[in-house]
Symmetry: C2
Subunit: 85 residues, 2 copies
């Protein structure tokens, strides 16, 4: 068993309302950043897990996303390649 580090990007699904992103966009404009057109706020999760190889680690993290980390109705997730930790 080796230790792997896998990063996950979770973003609000396109086309759905993103109230947090809109709030941040408005706050940035209030601060004077008037060129800001749009903001999307997602989550960035780093999982360190033991696995026999990188592929097994990525599969496990994909399963974690489906079961807990991401909301499959409103969010998309993207898993980066596992790197030895």
């Amino acid at each position: 068993m080796s230790k792997f580090r896998i990063a996950v990007h979770i973003t609000p699904r396109k086309g759905l309302l993103d109230p947090q992103g809109n709030a941040v966009r408005d706050a940035l404009r209030t601060l004077g950043f008037n060129s800001v057109k749009d903001v999307h706020v997602g989550r960035y999760i780093i999982v360190e897990t033991d696995a026999y190889d990188a592929l097994t680690a990525e599969d496990a993290v994909s399963d974690m996303c489906a079961k807990l980390l991401a909301n499959p109705v409103t969010e998309d997730f993207e898993i980066e390649s596992a790197v030895p930790a």
Copy 2:
């Protein structure tokens, strides 16, 4: 002026408590993912902004991070290269 898309990763600073990451780690173990050693939860923010060139866009986003997006005491941020949007 062109439109650029810049992604930002904001992560809890190493060495500081990460209660959200610990909660997610414990929840994953409760769900049967016993190989999980550690979890860090950060934010992933995508900013779409108008700028004259990519460097100006990246500088503006760095300024936004320092002023609003990240907490400079407890968080680190990393800005990806601007890409035309």
